[in-house]
């Protein structure tokens, strides 16, 4: 394997377009990626690189094992998966927030400062795609909550009594509104990050750090 050759993992879905735009601005010639939506691998001989397109939640795994040297991935996925990879740069796009949300008609009492008193939720259930994030948050609050792991459409769970609340990411809040859910606590913010395999970051330091510096400038000016 050439010392300067990079395998770059990009997330399928809504982060792909912004990731590609940034890579192109950084001088990587990546033709035809958007058009060939079924192709998973793209060789970029001009740039001594190769792109692989993965499910967003799989990116930390590809990078941790070194199958990809670097990757673009949401902080939400990183926190949930907690894998041993280097987080090199906040790319600032793909903003979202982790929140706790509940049905509008069943909100906890409000405190004087307008926030909700979560203590009444002890021993209740939270449906989520992010059980680790949820547990860390509730532990920090000194609360005991049962998390129920789901793989999608968590908004449904409180509607049918599977759980009293959900922990999910929101970007605009539209989905919550449509399902008559209201945010009762904000957990953390997340944006897309540039990550690297720990060993690749050492062995291919010049190449990867070079890209980091260019991306850093781009993020600043964009």
């Amino acid at each position: 394997m050439a010392k300067n050759f990079l395998t770059i993992a990009l997330p399928k879905g809504k982060l792909l377009i912004d990731s590609l735009r940034l890579l192109r601005q950084a001088g990587l010639n990546c033709p035809g990626v958007e058009e060939n939506s079924r192709q998973l691998m793209f060789e970029l001989p001009d740039s001594q690189a190769r792109l692989i397109i993965c499910r967003p939640t799989d990116i930390p795994t590809y990078v941790e094992y070194g199958a990809a040297d670097i990757g673009f991935v949401g902080k939400d996925t990183l926190v949930e998966q907690n894998q041993d990879i280097a987080e090199l740069l906040d790319l600032k796009f793909g903003y979202c927030r982790f929140v706790v949300a509940m049905p509008e008609e069943n909100l906890p009492p409000q405190l004087a400062d307008g926030s909700y008193d979560l203590r009444v939720l002890n021993h209740k259930r939270a449906a989520t795609k992010f059980p680790r994030v949820a547990q860390l948050f509730f532990n920090e609050q000194g609360m005991q909550i049962t998390t129920i792991k789901l793989h999608g459409n968590v908004e449904l769970a409180p509607r049918v009594g599977l759980a009293e609340m959900i922990v999910d990411i929101v970007s605009t809040g539209k989905t919550l509104k449509e399902n008559r859910l209201k945010e009762v606590a904000s957990i953390m913010e997340a944006t897309t990050r540039l990550v690297a395999n720990r060993v690749a970051y050492r062995l291919k330091y010049e190449r990867i750090q070079g890209l980091v510096e260019i991306l850093k400038e781009l993020v600043k000016t964009n």
């Binding site: 394997m1 010392k3 795994t61 990078v63 941790e64 094992y65 070194g66 199958a67 894998q83 041993d84 280097a86 987080e87 090199l88 740069l89 906040d90 990050r193 690297a196 395999n197 720990r198 060993v199 690749a200 970051y201 050492r202 062995l203 330091y205 750090q209």
Partner: protein, 389 residues
């Protein structure tokens, strides 16, 4: 009794090795151990089970231990590494030996963490009783020599020093929480977190600069010049001097080409106190060698002994190797009279041949086919003149 489906599986992270795989592993192991022996490191073996009280790991590593109870209710663990057990061995049974002691080891270690092999073969060395830079240089050079002997090219050893960060932390009087967060940020190369911690805390400009620069101080000797402004902090000055000296010795050992200085290597919450190093191979996403100086560990066992060493993860390197050819028998012996066949086999073995004896009845064609499928170059038929029985 027939086994349940579970009885046909292996626990997560375990594997069996077939003859050719085991032969490949043992070839690596033998080569590595031979180098250690040439450098006068003597092989020891500690027990597979230890009391949890011996290992006393941090909270993070605790989850990775395989634990059991003995009949007295004490917690036992399967050894996750050799360094601490060897410290126990030395401080209990070899107290009165003449130091430095040099030991090597080879054996399987067990770590219950997801994703990788949870049982893997480690070969490593411990150099106990010397705090000199030459001791560090020797083990690093030995690590390089082992990799060379294993015919592994393209590897890189990155060399750092714990004293730079810990010296700064002490000088700046970071509180325990901040130190832990910063250490973790640098160790895990979490630049985003590192930057945010630094911006949220009121630190002197120079300290901020150094913390942000540390992960990027990588290259040859000239990276040490960038720490010149920190000469006033004793721990940092000593660390830099140590690295310079070790680097010089490594040139004498003829292994400098494999060494990169990398001041961003830190291993948070570990027993390392001085030089730290890691060995990398392209295509393997984790270090294959981990080592360094741990001057505090022996004090925990009641003896103030400096020590340094490393372990090579042979298990993970095995995946990268091309398949290794098995040694087959030299000759297949068959015939109708067991007594004569046994006799002939004994003769041939005594003469140093590797002999496969046909156990069941075999025609000439059977014998030829078996030999060719196993790659046995010669067949010998024992004619049945008259059965002695």
């Amino acid at each position: 009794m027939e086994r349940s489906p579970l009885g046909l599986k292996l626990p997560e992270g375990m594997r069996d090795l077939l003859p050719n795989e085991l032969a490949a592993l043992e070839k690596l192991e033998t080569k590595a151990l031979n180098v250690c022996k040439n450098w006068s490191y003597q092989k020891v073996l500690t027990s597979g089970l230890e009391y949890r009280a011996c290992l006393e790991p941090d909270a993070d590593a605790e989850d990775n231990l395989y634990k059991f109870f003995d009949q007295n209710g004490h917690v036992l663990v399967l050894r996750p590494e050799f360094t601490t057990p060897i410290a126990r061995l030395v401080t209990t049974r070899l107290k009165n030996e003449q130091f430095p002691l040099r030991f090597c080891y080879s054996g399987d270690v067990y770590r219950n963490n997801a994703g990788r092999y949870r049982e893997f073969r480690q070969v490593g060395v411990e150099s106990i009783g010397s705090g000199s830079d030459l001791a560090d240089a020797e083990v690093i050079a030995l690590a390089v020599e082992i990799m060379r002997e294993l015919d592994i090219k393209n590897f890189q050893i990155s060399l750092g020093h714990n004293g730079i960060f810990s010296g700064l932390a002490k000088e700046m009087k970071f509180d325990a929480k901040l130190q832990k967060e910063l250490e973790n940020g640098i160790a895990r190369k979490d630049m985003v977190k590192l930057e945010s911690i630094i911006s949220q805390n009121d630190l002197p400009e120079a300290a901020k600069e150094l913390l942000l620069a540390l992960p990027h101080l990588t290259g040859q000797e000239e990276v040490l010049d960038k720490l010149q402004n920190w000469n006033n902090i004793l721990a940092i000055r000593r660390a830099v001097e140590s690295l310079r000296t070790i680097y010089l010795y490594l040139r004498e050992f003829g292994v400098k080409d494999y060494i990169t200085l990398d001041l961003g290597i830190l291993r948070g919450f570990s027993y390392y106190t001085g030089v730290i190093f890691e060995g990398y191979l392209p295509g393997i996403g984790m270090p294959v060698i981990e080592g360094g100086r741990y001057d505090g560990l022996y004090a925990d066992f009641g003896m103030n002994l400096p020590a340094t060493g490393f372990a090579v993860n042979l298990g993970v390197m095995l995946e990268q190797l091309e398949e290794f050819e098995l040694e087959t028998a030299d000759v297949l012996v068959y015939g109708q009279s067991p007594g004569k066949v046994i006799k002939r086999c004994r003769e041939l073995r005594k003469a140093g041949k590797k002999v496969e004896m046909a156990i069941d009845f075999m025609t000439d064609t059977d014998a030829k086919n078996l030999a060719s499928s196993r790659g046995i170059p010669q067949v010998e038929k024992i004619e049945n003149t008259r059965d002695p029985r």
